[in-house]
């Protein structure tokens, strides 16, 4: 199915910033084996990654956070600015909340678990390239809390209580999606529960991520102003 979707179209250009050669090689193998993907670039350090961003933009950028000469967060941030049309993905061992949330706030559109099977890696890259984003229950809970500014309230009460604090930030449907995710439902299950296509569910998540990026930026500016860093 995926093959037919992309065969006729332009292949997905994938760039990698990764210092672990094993994972890097495994990833390159996945890209090479997928007919609809092409490796557009490969960097092993933060400096190389930033230099790569001066070149022609890729469709999907895979970034590791723990680079030998600095944080991958800087690369993600620069990519958001220099390659606005590119979807950035952070590669992580555990998909833990702190890594992933930071990356999303810097401009990442998703994350890739390093122990994923090759076919799953290819699926994630495709999904990202076509505007979808992955999410885990814990991340969903964190995103809800971030928008609510009330981290303590249990998520399963969310649909019943109309959110008055951030109505402009997250739509009712978006919140509903997040809420289902925190209860353990998969994208497919949510799609049938909400009568959507499962792909729409993933694009909802992408939209939520971009909103999170905006709010986090606004919060940072507000924070900086109150602390006198900006005049």
């Amino acid at each position: 199915m995926k093959q037919t979707d992309h065969n006729d179209a332009r292949p997905i250009h994938v760039a990698i910033v990764e210092d672990d050669p094993d994972f890097s090689n495994a990833l390159i193998l996945v890209v090479d084996h997928a007919a609809d993907m092409r490796l557009a670039g490969r960097a092993g350090t933060q400096a190389e990654g930033l230099a790569m961003l001066a070149g022609p933009p890729a469709d999907v950028l895979l970034v590791d956070l723990g680079l030998p000469d600095g944080s991958g967060i800087e690369v993600i941030r620069a990519a958001a600015r220099l390659w606005p049309g590119c979807s950035t993905m952070v590669s992580t061992n555990f998909g833990d909340e702190t890594h992933v949330m930071r990356s999303i706030e810097a401009g990442a559109a998703g994350y890739l678990l390093k122990d994923s099977s090759p076919s799953r890696m290819a699926d994630e890259i495709r999904s990202l390239a076509s505007g979808g984003s992955p999410i885990s229950p814990i991340i969903a809970r964190q995103v809800l809390a971030r928008f609510r500014h009330q981290p303590a309230a249990p998520a399963h009460q969310q649909p019943a209580v109309p959110d008055e604090e951030a109505p402009a930030l997250l739509s009712q449907r978006e919140k509903e999606v997040l809420d289902y995710i925190t209860k353990g439902f998969t994208a497919h299950e949510i799609a049938s529960l909400m009568e959507l296509s499962h792909f729409t569910v993933r694009t909802f998540v992408r939209r939520i991520y971009s909103k999170l990026k905006v709010t986090s930026k606004a919060e940072a500016i507000f924070e900086a102003r109150t602390q006198g860093l900006l005049s």
Binding site: R120, P137, A152, T182, K183
Partner: protein, 636 residues
């Protein structure tokens, strides 16, 4: 400032007296009134008191006139007077002192005669040009007689010849003596002012001061009733009461009789001295037992001797001049001894000694005035003794009051200080406690992770290494073991994420982690969860136990059954929640599995459930197995 105001008050009576004197002197300069200072006098003897005749010609009296300068205060033979006073009920003889004052060039108009004092223990009659114009003390003297000035107006309508002679008839007992101040004859309006000033300063002002002192004394009594341990308040009341009683005879218009009133006023003086002495002892904190006993004994003795029913020493003006020196002596002794004791220790004691000394001096001048030792025109200053007492003790109370306020303020300040100190202490201990708590949390967490790694990850890795070393394991098996280890590790990390009492979120996380494994196994997962109440006790340790229990349950299904479908459901029950994991595999003999050593996984699940106060149960049949994890809503 604290000392200046009472000092100012102490000067007040003196200032008042000085003002009165100035007023008096001023009227002296007034040429309109005649100041009569020369007289002739003689004594006649009678058998008894008689009413004065309406006319008395001075020429009809014996020609034994002797000239005298007014004020007239003949010496008194005190012993003889006292003897006659105690001797019997009726005097042996009555004497009449006649005083004849010649008037030259008397002013015309409405006239008044004013004399500061006329003293006798009999009747007073005044004749003008032989005609009786004024009578006083018709039934003998009153207690306030010697403080009541002589004052009457003359009826000299037009045509009446001017006054030429004033004759005074003073009846008295045989042994006692009379006294007369100089006289003033002049217009009523001119003389009224000095007369009223005299009357006010001698009677009315002392009465007011005495009453004021008494009122403060009653206040002190009420204070003492609530604070019995502070006897100073009771003493203060005793002082006020005795001073009040002592002062009564200065202004009470009762006939002089040897009755309880006389007894009270005389004895009050002794009690007053005694009270001041006891007060002084309290101030300088030296018991002075012998002196106190002696003073009490003297007071009791005088009290008994002067009892009206016994009449050994009648409390009559004839006898009291012999009694009062005892009081003065007592007072002076108390004064000197108290002064010596208090001098170095107590400023308040010194103040009281000054006061007592002043009162004694005032009393002595009264005694001298009463007994014709000093001019009959002097002042009875003893009337101001209660005022002196009032000022002295008022000042003490004032100081105490200020000290008490200062003390309260000090105590409040120190309370606030102590409160601050306690708060700081509390803060410090709270901080310490938090640090201990933090250390405890870290230690618990470490222990938890150690335990988990030891049981799961560690042992899996060790067995994998052994197998690899022996060479009897396939690459796929090694890969599987490592994947299992990674899953374990992920769940450990997930258990540390904040799930905020949400069991569903925990299960969701587990599903998210196990999904890739399930996808590969071909077993379908049906997610049938329902809303669950929050579990407030769901901390990372409990979360990991629950994750492991459910993980083990799903792993068992994958490992030991041929199930094609797993249903995960949650239900809220009466006092807890249930997680049900049902498969459509072959089922197994639960009892046998638990009893057999192979059921280590089941035993682990049971142990983990118990450590979060939960229960596990298996219901197995041919259609499959349902595993039930029950968790309490609240934990003790």
């Amino acid at each position: 400032m604290g000392a200046r105001i009472p000092r100012l008050f102490a000067w007040l009576p003196i200032i008042a007296l000085a003002a009165a004197g100035a007023c008096y002197l001023e009227s002296d300069d007034d040429g309109a009134s005649l100041h009569l200072t020369r007289a002739d006098w003689q004594d006649t003897v009678a058998s008894d008191y008689t009413a004065p005749p309406s006319r008395q010609d001075s020429a009809a009296l014996p020609a034994a006139w002797r000239p005298v300068t007014l004020p007239f205060n003949p010496a008194i033979a005190l012993l003889r007077q006292a003897e006659s006073g105690t001797g019997g009920a009726s005097p042996r003889a009555v004497r009449v002192t006649w005083l004849k004052v010649a008037v030259q060039a008397a002013p015309a108009g409405a006239l008044a005669l004013y004399g500061i004092r006329v003293k006798t223990d009999g009747t007073v009659a005044v004749y003008v040009d032989g005609r009786l114009v004024h009578r006083a003390q018709q039934r003998g003297p009153s207690w306030n007689s010697t403080r009541t000035p002589l004052w009457f107006t003359l009826d000299n309508s037009a045509g009446t010849p001017p006054v030429r002679e004033i004759l005074l008839r003073l009846e008295h007992s045989d042994a006692s003596q009379t006294a007369l101040s100089s006289l003033r004859l002049g217009p009523v309006d001119t003389l009224r002012a000095p007369y009223h000033v005299r009357l006010w300063l001698q009677q009315e002002l002392p009465a007011m001061l005495s009453a004021a002192f008494m009122a403060v004394g009653v206040f002190a009594l009420f204070v003492w009733l609530r604070r019995r341990h502070e006897s100073a308040y009771l003493l203060f009341f005793a002082l006020a009461a005795t001073a009040f009683l002592r002062g009564l005879h200065f202004y009470v218009d009762l006939p002089v009789k040897n009755d309880w009133f006389a007894w009270l006023t005389v004895n009050a003086l002794f009690w007053l001295v005694l009270s001041v002495h006891v007060f002084l002892c309290q101030l300088h904190r030296q018991p002075l037992r012998w002196l106190t006993r002696a003073l009490v004994a003297v007071s009791l003795l005088i009290g008994v001797l002067t009892l009206p029913v016994l009449a050994v020493l009648p409390a009559m003006p004839t006898v009291t001049p012999m009694i009062y020196p005892v009081a003065a002596l007592m007072s002076l002794i108390a004064c000197v001894v108290g002064g010596i004791c208090a001098w170095r220790h107590s400023g308040e004691g010194r103040l009281v000694v000054y006061g007592l000394f002043a009162c004694t001096a005032l009393g002595i001048t009264d005694w001298m005035l009463q007994n014709n030792v000093i001019s009959a025109e002097g002042w009875y200053l003893g009337a101001y003794a209660p005022a002196v007492c009032f000022i002295t003790f008022g000042r003490l109370m004032y100081r105490r009051y200020l000290d008490a306020i200062a003390e309260v303020e000090r105590v409040n300040a120190s309370l606030a200080e102590r409160l601050r100190a306690r708060e700081a202490e509390l803060d410090a201990s709270h901080h310490r406690l938090r640090q201990i708590e933090l250390r405890q949390t870290i230690s618990d967490e470490r222990q938890r992770l150690m335990q988990d790694m030891h049981d799961g990850l560690g042992s899996s890795l060790i067995s994998a290494i052994r197998s690899v070393e022996r060479g009897n394991i396939s690459d796929a098996r090694v890969s599987q073991i490592l994947k299992d280890c990674l899953d374990d590790l992920k769940l450990t990390i997930d258990s540390m994420e904040p799930v905020e009492a949400d069991l569903l979120l925990l299960l969701a996380t587990l599903r998210f982690r196990l999904e890739p494994r399930l996808e590969g196994s071909g077993v379908g997962l049906l997610w049938e969860v329902r809303e669950l109440p929050a579990l407030a006790w769901l901390d990372p340790t409990s979360a990991l136990h629950i994750l492991r229990i459910v993980q083990e349950s799903i792993a068992n299904i994958l490992r030991h059954t041929r199930a094609t479908e797993i249903r995960v459901g949650t239900t809220a029950v009466a006092d807890g929640v249930e997680v049900r994991i049902a498969d459509n595999g072959g089922g197994f003999d639960v009892a046998a599995a638990l009893a057999h050593g192979g059921g280590r996984g089941l035993q682990n699940q049971r142990r983990r459930a118990a450590s979060v106060d939960g229960k596990v149960d298996w219901r197995s049949g041919a259609g499959g197995t349902t595993f039930i994890l029950w968790l309490p809503l609240r934990r003790a």
